[in-house]
Symmetry: C2
Subunit: 203 residues, 2 copies
DNA sequence: TTGATCTGTGAATCCCGATTCACTAGCCTG
DNA sequence: CAGGCTAGTGAATCGGGATTCACAGATCAA
């Protein structure tokens, strides 16, 4: 986000940008190096392989994402607010950059990078499970299988936001509306009273 | 499922099997041909490319899946039963063969094959949206954004079942329990009263 | 029987992107 | 300034899998 002072930093930056713009597949070593203003060989002075470079890219992005969600959770108090804040944070960020979100969640990558992504998802899912557990403990939501519920919540958000079926491509809707619909969906899903469910009037 | 009478059929069969067993990446032309008892070149007598072969494979599997779900829906009456039947059908089949389900939903494939997969998901999602719309119309579930809800339901199921975070790999649970948890989750998600939510007792 | 067409063979070829490597340029240190 | 280090160059190499192709056998119609 700030200054890619070092060459290494510029490479990471270039790789991130290409990932955002055109996906992992298009982010060839040649392209990355060129964008960083280097020749292909130089990349290997800084990373043992393309995969390792992307491990770092993924780690960066994922870390930032997780931090944002954690701080969002801390900023709000009470189970319901926390849940909404976490979902909204993720949803908003994913919506801001769909391609990146897609790469982070679904896009095919080397096994090495995949491991990183998996770790990220696990942490995200674990965090969600913790949150749900808290809700169950305090009686905010009914007894339930929090592991499955957490996975399902994560999946629901991901699919609704970045999946190939996501609403925008087809029947355009405003982003806030989508986010609201998702929050409502998830609330109901885990047993909170529903509140608004996105669409107020029959269209 | 029945007789791979024609050579073409044997190729499709072989490709499906390899897809199930080890995924798209491992299903090289050489491997497919070998399993079908042919030399690599022969494949090209029947399909213009590997991708086109897999388009057919995907189409077959997806078609069967959709038919199964439709017939499940028709066999049951009333919104709640229909919904449960559809989810249970999908969940059960995915659980029976996770690898295939994964390939069908997430695994990296050529653009050509991807288009086929996308079409399949769209149809599935559209079906779900129709079902939800019916629910809204009959008053079984509250007014809501059925498009987003349908996508979220599909995503929740997929993630909970075949996603890398899915419960089985880690903390083993019985399949029926997972299916039940998912059905409960989805019921709540769209605004049905929850009923059982999978876990009856605090573990 | 002849030859035309179809199906199959499998080694050779192509393609394409990651990786290597011989070499250059700047820079610090004694 | 020589020697040694780091950073960088970009063409050549490598690897792996899809695709092609020159060459059979088999079948069938005339």
């Amino acid at each position: 986000m700030t200054a890619p002072a070092t060459t290494r930093g510029r490479l990471v930056r270039a790789a991130s940008e290409l990932l955002e713009e055109a996906g992992y597949a298009t982010a060839s070593v040649a392209a990355i190096a060129e964008r960083a203003g280097l020749a292909t060989g130089a990349l290997y002075r800084h990373f043992p392989s393309k995969a390792e470079l992307f491990v770092e890219v993924f780690r960066n992005v994922a870390e930032a994402e997780l931090v944002a969600m954690e701080s969002a959770a801390e900023r709000s108090s009470g189970f319901e607010e926390r849940l909404a804040a976490v979902i909204r944070t993720y949803a908003t960020s994913a919506l801001r950059n769909r391609r990146l979100a897609w790469a982070l969640v679904y896009e095919p990558v080397d096994p090495l990078v995949d491991a990183e992504r998996l770790a990220y998802r696990r942490r995200y899912c674990a965090g969600m499970a913790d949150l749900l557990r808290e809700g169950v403990r305090t009686g905010a939501i009914p007894e339930q299988d929090v592991e499955v519920a957490a996975a399902a919540v994560v999946g629901a958000i991901a699919e609704a936001l970045v999946g190939p079926l996501s609403p925008l491509p087809g029947g355009a809707q405003s982003e806030p509306a989508i986010v609201a619909a998702i929050v409502g969906f998830c609330r109901g899903a885990i047993g909170l009273t529903a509140g608004s469910r996105g669409k107020e009037s029959t269209s």
